[in-house]
């Protein structure tokens, strides 16, 4: 009896697998999400090695690599300068209003940066997201902003105890509020994949130039100061409605080359593992 082989017909086999598939399909997203996080952690090393393959393939001659490093550093400092300029502009506005309200001298004063390593990254195509090795146990929660090369790259969408998923703002399902300096209207930026995003519904009466900075609007509790997110790459009239602009935004940071990011935690409770926002400690992506 012990050696009797269990025979199962192909129809039964199919039915059981289908049942399993439907159970997984309609399982709560929290459970399936935890399962995927577990897989991500289990296969951390091979996935990381697989991720580094394309990066290694992109590496060219050392001289050119040095040039790229210099350009990247320059881009980081440029982003940092833009953030400081924006803080200064906001400070000036606050003084001009003479409200007498107490405002923060620095937008990110009191905020902590939690450095995180990228475990899994898919930054091409329409779906662009990364998984980082920090989670609920490190104080992360949904909707927190993530920095890469001193610019905002995305927000946290899912958190497990030890990992978190970050949806980049170039993801097709991402929509965030942004503004362009000197243009006092709210704009919505929609991810367009392929390392770009679009701003639509902006009337052509506003003058927008290529290269202008695009800043993410502050979100109390998550981001107390506007920060750079990208630059206007192209600005043309919308094909469907010529009275509106069709603005293409290029991110300030190339997420495909990032190895580390930092999560902004406003008013952190515990300072374990957090870095204070100093220029020298800002994540440089290396």
């Amino acid at each position: 009896m012990a050696g009797k082989r269990i025979r199962i017909s192909s129809k039964m086999l199919f039915a059981w697998f289908m049942l399993g598939g439907f159970i997984l399909l309609f399982s709560p997203l929290g459970i399936t999400g935890k399962f995927q996080f577990a897989i991500g952690r289990l296969f951390y090393w091979p996935l990381k090695a697989g991720r580094q393959m394309p990066l290694a393939a992109k590496t060219e001659l050392p001289l050119k690599s040095n040039d790229e490093d210099i350009n990247r550093k320059e881009s980081q400092y440029q982003n940092h300068i833009t953030n400081l300029e924006e803080e200064l502009r906001q400070k000036n506005l606050a003084i001009q209003q003479l409200t007498g309200l107490r405002t923060r001298l620095r937008g990110l004063e009191g905020a902590g940066f939690l450095p995180a390593e990228i475990i899994v990254s898919s930054v091409s195509g329409l779906r662009t997201e990364i998984m980082i090795n920090r989670g609920k146990e490190d104080g992360l929660s949904k909707d927190m902003f993530v920095l890469g090369d001193n610019s905002i790259i995305g927000i946290i969408t899912e958190v497990s105890p030890r990992t978190a998923k970050v949806r980049l703002f170039t993801d097709a399902s991402s929509t965030i509020q942004v503004n362009i300096p000197d243009i006092e209207i709210n704009m919505l930026m929609q991810g367009a994949g392929s390392n770009s995003a679009k701003i639509k519904m902006v009337p052509v009466k506003y003058k927008i130039k290529t290269g202008q900075q695009v800043l993410i609007r502050k979100k109390p509790g998550y981001l107390d100061s506007s920060m750079i997110v990208g630059q206007v790459q192209q600005c043309k009239r919308d094909n469907k409605n010529p009275a509106l602009w069709d603005i293409t935004v290029k991110p300030s940071c190339d997420a495909s080359k990032l190895a580390n990011v930092a999560v902004i935690i406003m008013n952190p409770v515990a300072n374990v593992g957090l870095k204070q926002p100093q220029t020298a400690n800002l994540p440089n992506g290396k």
């Binding site: 192909s10 086999l13 199919f14 697998f17 289908m18 399993g20 598939g21 439907f22 997984l24 399909l25 309609f26 399982s27 997203l29 399936t32 399962f35 995927q36 897989i39 296969f43 091979p46 996935l47 697989g50 991720r51 393959m53 394309p54 393939a57 899994v120 898919s122 930054v123 091409s124 195509g125 329409l126 779906r127 997201e129 993801d171 097709a172 399902s173 994949g193 392929s194």
Partner: protein, 169 residues
Amino acid sequence: MPWPRFAVFVLIATFLQKSWIDTIAVTDLRVTPDLLLIGMVFFAIRCNVKEAIISSFLLGFAADIASSGLGPQIISFGLLGTALSNLHRLIAIRKVPHEAITIFLTGIITGCLAFFLAHIAGQTTKPGGLGAITGTSFYSAVLGPVLFLLLDWLMRIKNRRREKLSRVF
């Protein structure tokens, strides 16, 4: 069916699909081939029905792990793999153009079904819609017959069948 080799293939294909495949993406939609889809069609037309059912569902599970959300790809891969295996008993798919067309059509139906299932289950659907599905299917159809040669060599399913037949007769 050499299951250990199948397991190795699934692991390698999943890792490549999750990481390396972006390097060969084309067009603005960043279309990439679906290695697991190619594998599913290969096992559906090279193995018997029972093996095809098991391999299709397992490849669907791997495809779900490589994307976000569990369930849609398991069902769509399993359903199409089983149907394809049964169809192969009636219409033999042997020539390279036929294999390419099969991969293309299977890719479109699988993609649409997975999109629909993810939508009704409230999961995040694959961005790009029909354009991305068609692009992926086409790219897979172009690459598929080449990978079939590699898989034929790797899995040695044909040789094993010949050996079995020679033992019987």
